[in-house]
Each structure stands twice: as C-alpha cells, then as structure tokens.
Symmetry: C2
C-alpha cells in the first residue's frame, strides 16, 4: 500500500507543477463542452493523459474512470479502479487561478481504499483511506467534531440552491451559513479539516470519489441526497455531512420529492 | 501620504499577527450580536481597540467609524475619517480559520483616499488609492480587463440570492458562475485581481469602504444596487462591478423594485 501511496502522490505533485507553470506562463486554451459555462482546457486533458500513462506503467491491469477523453463511463467497477479528476473546478482554474484540485481515488471492487485531493495553489494535499488514516502532507489529522447543522457552514451547489431542490433552502437556513466555492475538492477538504458540516451538490463520480474516501475515513456520511447509495454511475445529487448533520438534512430532503 | 501608508500597513500587519496567534493558541471567545448567526469574538474587539489606539496617537483629530464597541454611527463624515473592520468575515474566522480580512479605509470629506485589505491567512495584502495606484505588497497591479457578466464570476450574498432581491438570480444566470465566500474583503480583493466581474451584497460601510477605494482606483464602479450613491450610513444593498458588468446588472436591478 505504501508504494501505491507514494506513486500516486508523486504523479499528482508532478501534475500540480505542470498546472502552476501553465498558469504562470499563461498557456491555457479554453473550450466548452455541454454548455457555455461547462469549461475544459488543454490542461485538463494533458494532466489526465499524464496520470493515465503513469497508471498504465505502474498498474497495467487496472481500470480507469476519468472526466475527459471518453473515459467517463465504466459499466464494470470490479477489481481495481483509478478514478481521476485532472482539474476539479476548471472554471476557478481559468477565472481565479486558484481554488481547483487534482483528485485521484483508488477503488477495489466498488469500495474506496485511498483518496488523494490536492488543492494546488493552496498547497494543501490531503490523502488517506479507511486502513491508513487521513493525512495533510505527512501530518495525521484528528477526526473532526460531529457538529450539527446549526453549528457549522454548509457548502451548496448554486443551481440546486436557486431551484430549491428538495427544499435545501430550508436546510441552509438551519445551518450557520452557506458557502459556494465552485470546487468539490475544496468543499470536501474543508469537511476533512472540520470547516464544514456538510456539502450538497450535483456531482459525477470523479468529483466525489477521492474526497469521499477521506470523509468516510473521518467518520462522516455520504450518499445521494435522498439517502440512497452512490454507485459510481452518472451524475447524482450528492450529500455529505457529519453524522448529526446528515440525519438533520435527510429529515428535510427525504420529506421533499424532486 | 507615504508616512500614513506605512503607519496603517504596520498596524494591520501587527493586528494580523495577533489573529494568527489567537487561532494557533485557540483563544477565541465567541458571542452573538443581532441573531444566532451574527458572530463577534473577543478578537474583533481587541483588534479594533488596537487600531483605534494607534490612530489616537498618530492622528488624534481624525474621526473613526468602526464595526464594534458603539463606533458604528458617524453623522458627520467631513474631515479625515478612518473606517475600520477589525475582522471582516468573523464567521469564517471562527469556523474556517481562513478567508477573513482586516480592513482600514482613509476618507477625506466623504471621499476615499486610501484602502487597505489584508487577507490574513492567505497573506494577500492589497492597498492603494486613486492618487497612488493599487498594490499587492510592493508590487503595483495592472488594471483588470473590463469583462462583461458573461465572461466572469460574480460574488453574491446568500440571503439576497435566495430571496431573489431585484431579480439577481437573473443577473447570476448571465454570469459564468456564482461564488459565496462569506467575506466582503475576499470578494473585493478578487475584483481587484480581475478574478470577479462583480459583487452584490448587503453591506455596512466598514464592509466596503477599504475594498471600494481599491476597485474604484482600478476603474470599476460601485453604488447601491439601484444605482444610487453609497453614503457611509447604515447597511445598504451594495453593487460593485466592472464598467461593462455594472451596466448589465443595473439594467436588470433597476427594472425590478425591491
């Protein structure tokens, strides 16, 4: 396991340097995918190709699920699967030059064993899993307090908030406050560090896989917004929270159909 | 002017060290003001008292408008006025340990001549004014591009967004994306750096005074959300934006009464 951990950290650190250089040298080529606000850059593709090539050498029989280049579907998730988001928060990468993450998760037979979330410009590298614990760089992190909704901040997806999906506006009004960073990795890292009691968004598997391993290893809960299990297929309404906040949120969201 | 600039930067750097120490040593005592989510800490008051005492020595005839300790009203804003927010983003200070700012503005006869916004944990110190230019530490910053709403991110107040005040949900749908950081200083610093095309919130004078000097010195616009001038009195619905985005936003907000 230690060799695997060191390998993935090495790839991601290298990838982070590529992104920092690209920002400094202004090498971004920005394109759109499904809509005018669904951005992709030459770097999303280049970083993914870089990590995929490393996996092909290091672990040639493993499967890969990743955001770009037609690797975004995997019917069969048995065996070892690497789940990659080369740049989570591409819009922030392009418009803020910060608040974006490189993320890699390692799954075995549908269960997350390792997660790596690297907030590149903040230089905050969180990683770990159920058997090894959760670390920031080499420092082992303590489990956050199990705070209720009323004592913490909640990360929320802009569109779901505006459309009041499953009455999440009511959820947010029970929280101390609402934050929208535009990056799932930033939000899940905040949860790992005890800076959020929850996060509600509309996420693809590569958006939550790595951070999800970390928050579950920290004793937090995640599922679809209606409490049903996530399944690494498609985009789903995602809920993650401390155990106490999770129950508080489900009480509202399960009582309100979409 | 240079002596004044150096003085204020020195006070704020000292104040920043006090906040960093307090976070490290876990010295926060948290209280509430108008509601359960309107937080204030012992540090808000201590930092303000520290800066006020420095002003009393350096500039004894000046007036002071500040968030805490009954200094939050000033009928007469003629002469020199220092406007202080000791901790902008107190909730972030308490719950995130980051994304909060110390802010000081210097006004003469109702006009901003200097603004200082110090994002303490990010160590991003922006300062300047109409006669000296705008700086990050000692580096002079170039004026950001005059991007339209469709090309940039918009910072928005959570409650105004939820309540769709003056149809700002329509405004946000024309933008590339929406962000909510919970700190006016963070949002206005983003604008100064060209990472936001605008910011809409419900702000008191100490929330926007310092950052407002900087964005105006960068050729951007600010006013109430209906286009009327801000007046350093009371809390007001605040709009700041690039010249192009400002006109686009007013077209919507002026057509929709509150």
């Amino acid at each position: 396991m230690q060799i695997l951990i060191n390998e993935v950290k090495y790839w991601m650190t290298e990838a982070g340097e590529m992104l920092k250089s690209a920002l400094l040298e202004n090498q971004l080529v920005v394109d759109t995918k499904s809509s005018r606000t669904d951005l992709v850059t030459n770097l999303d593709k280049a970083i993914q190709d870089f990590i995929v090539s490393k996996i092909a050498t290091f672990d040639p029989t493993a499967k890969i699920l990743a955001e770009e280049n037609d690797r975004d579907r995997l019917e069969d998730v048995t065996g070892r699967v690497y789940i990659i988001d080369p740049i989570d928060g591409t819009m922030n990468f392009v418009l803020e030059g910060e608040n974006f993450c490189i993320m890699v998760a390692v799954y075995e037979d549908g269960k997350g064993i390792l997660g790596f979330v690297y907030d590149v410009m903040k230089n905050e590298f969180l990683w770990g899993g159920p058997s090894v614990g959760v670390f920031r760089d080499e420092e082992r992190l303590a489990q956050p307090l199990d705070l209720g909704l009323e004592d913490g901040l909640l990360g929320v997806n802009t569109k779901m908030y505006r459309e009041n999906v499953r009455d999440i506006q009511q959820v947010t009004q029970q929280a101390m406050g609402v934050r929208m960073s535009g990056c799932a990795g930033v939000e899940l890292n905040h949860m790992v560090m005890g800076r959020r009691v929850g996060y509600i968004s509309n996420l693809a598997p590569w958006d939550y896989a790595a951070g999800g391993v970390l928050i579950e290893a920290m004793g937090m809960k995640m599922s679809r917004i209606d409490g049903k299990p996530l399944d690494l297929q498609d985009r789903q309404h995602f809920l993650a929270a401390t155990p106490t906040a999770y129950q508080q949120i489900l009480t509202i969201t399960q009582g309100n159909e979409e």
